[in-house]
């Protein structure tokens, strides 16, 4: 008994020592700021000087802020444009790459490669590609008889342009995850299905899709979370325009805080972002968690 507790104490001390460096950073730069952010959202805070508590004033303004609702709208629109394409597309691409085809490694490489490129470069490439007059996309659209589209300079198509760039940038990530998950499916199950005479569609829906449920949960969760945080593409491609059609939540947060010096309001937007992501994560967990329980 005595030996155990002294050993226990020693372990606790070692643990404290080992945890200390990380936790100093963790508390001061990860958890701390997240918590403090709530507190700051209740203040009128300029970039310099002390804050003044304004009795939920920021929240009252937020509620009536046209541009805030627009940014929320835009962010969800972005999610709708990118999410399904990235998830379903990633899955289909992985299915394709899972076939024994020569040269599929090349395709896998090429599809994943954009992911390692930094967002500024992605934005620059696509800004040029989507150019209204000299852009490559419009050139080929016209070649097949369609009209050229003003992409980033029209408020109805700008977000679509950004979505295209984002899909190119990140679909490789999902593809690779799905590919690993597909390769994990035991061959015997698939063989057994073949013997039973199951066609490809049945195999897909009855075996493959359920088997990659874990990967799907992860892919959906990360896609949703990263979509809510979209910023770099907006900053380098459209700066929120035209006509506020591409202002996203994080972009608005940045402008309010670091261009208009309204840190208090910026914190409030951060709080909104936090809760939106929390709610969506919970939703994803609930959706996929349920299936897990049933299966």
């Amino acid at each position: 008994m005595h030996k155990q507790s002294s050993r226990g104490w020693r372990q606790a001390m070692w643990a404290a020592l080992f945890l200390l460096p990380y936790f100093i950073l963790f508390i001061s730069l990860k958890i701390g700021p997240l918590v403090v952010n709530f507190w700051m959202s209740l203040q009128e805070l300029d970039i310099i000087g002390k804050g003044v508590f304004n009795n939920f004033g920021n929240y009252k303004v937020l509620f009536q802020d046209r541009l805030f609702w627009r940014s929320l709208n835009n962010t969800f629109y972005y999610l709708v444009l990118v999410g399904p394409v990235n998830v379903a597309g990633g899955f289909l691409l992985a299915m394709l790459l899972n076939q024994k085809l020569k040269g599929r490694i090349i395709t896998r490489t090429v599809v994943f490669m954009p992911y390692v490129i930094m967002v500024t470069v992605v934005g620059a490439i696509w800004r040029w590609l989507l150019d209204g007059r000299f852009g490559l996309l419009n050139y080929y659209l016209q070649k097949i008889g369609l009209e050229s589209v003003p992409w980033l300079s029209s408020s109805s198509t700008a977000m679509i342009g950004i979505a295209m760039a984002s899909v190119w940038w990140t679909i490789g990530y999902n593809t690779v995850i799905y590919l690993a998950a597909l390769q994990d499916i035991p061959k015997d199950i698939l063989n057994a299905a073949d013997i039973d005479g199951a066609g490809p569609l049945r195999k897909l829906f009855a075996i493959i899709i359920p088997s990659v449920k874990g990967a799907t949960a992860f892919v959906v969760l990360t896609t949703v979370i990263y979509s809510m945080q979209v910023f770099g593409q907006v900053y380098t491609m459209t700066s929120g325009g035209p006509q506020y059609s591409t202002v996203t939540l994080v972009h608005y947060l940045y402008v309010k805080g670091f261009r208009e010096f309204n840190l208090g309001y910026s914190s409030t937007l951060g709080v909104v972002l936090f809760f939106v992501i929390l709610a969506l994560s919970a939703l994803v967990y609930a959706t996929f968690g349920e299936r897990k329980a049933k299966g």
Binding site: D46, I47, I48, G49, L67, D131, G132, R133, P150, L152, S153, S154, S155, S239, G240, G241, P242, Q243, Y244, V247, V255, F258, R259, E260, F261
Partner: protein, 416 residues
Amino acid sequence: MGITILVFLLLSAALVSAGGGQEQAGVATVNYWAGFTGPDKLGMQAIVEDFEEANPNVDVEFMTAPWTEVFTKFNATFGSSSAPNLMVMHISDIPQFADRKMLNAVDGLLAEMGVKEGDYPKPVWQGQHYGGSQYGVPLDYHPMAVFTNVKMYNAAGLDANMRFTSKDVFLNAMSKLTDGEQYGVGIGVPHAHTMRYWYGLLYQAGGSFLNADQSEAAFNSAAGEKAVQFLADLVYKYKVAPVHETDIDRDFLAGTVASLIEGPWWVPGAAEQEGLEFSTVPFPTIFEQKGVWAGAHTLVLPNQDDKGKKDGAISLMQYIAGNTVAWGAAGQIPASLAVINSAEYKALPTYKYFKQFIEQGDYVHFEPVMKANAEFGADNELSPVLNAIYGVVLGESKAAEAMEQAAADVNSILNK
């Protein structure tokens, strides 16, 4: 192995603290920030290098970035050792920073720097003041003017030095220049200049941006509507400007548009373009009066503690303010009247282009010199006025409604 890690960590810590710039003893390092990008950046760099040669005990770190970034970083670094010691700003930027006590008043320094009120155009001098103190030393001012492509104008039977004295003269010329894939002029969306064109036209039509005591928006008037409608009409009604024009500069260079309304900073770059023959003429007078938007750059002294750096900054400020001929060559119009009337300035090879900008000096209009301009000025990509104008020029909203909405937004900003 653990020891190795520790040593490595300590080395890294040393490196980390070293990263971010070294300073030599006995030499004051002055951080000098400006939003210039392009030929004027190079011009200012040359002036800075000349200063450093003449002042070996002052080392200048010249930082440039787009204007919005410069101000964002100024805010972010203020009070730290990376903050700028000397900056260039627009006079419309002074209020927001002076209000936050981020700038040093320069009234006491003017005498020793040899800066006199009479040497500058009145609106430029007045713009340096806020709340009773003067914060800036004028550097330059820059109105808009029209760059004309000589070959294209001649081909259309027009004189590239023609004056656009009325709406009809302008439209007439533009139609002659528009032919198939070629257009008379470019109205960029999104491009902050479009709001600047509108600004000039607003005053030409007898309107004004804000009311007399700057408490309310006044541009949602017939004048404001007329001004923005005219720009939209150029695209959709008269069809002399391309639809969804994203890049007016490039299109002028490519020969897609025959005229480009830009600032004087564009002159040096254009002069260097092989095969481009151009001229400049004053901003077109479309409505009843003459009027054109102008901005003005000014040198300001941020609030700072380090005396050595501050002195260095002041001597740099004095040097730049007194050597603006080189600055003029780089493409801005020096604010000092003595300089623009000097033989040296007039001897510049590009003077023939700058003349037409200077001509407009008597009827330039600056953006309101007030704190709220940070939110609704042309430099803020989320400005309600800017976006309202884009909407009309894009054909997505109606002039009257857009102006009303923008005015409402500006009023709510003013009333905060």
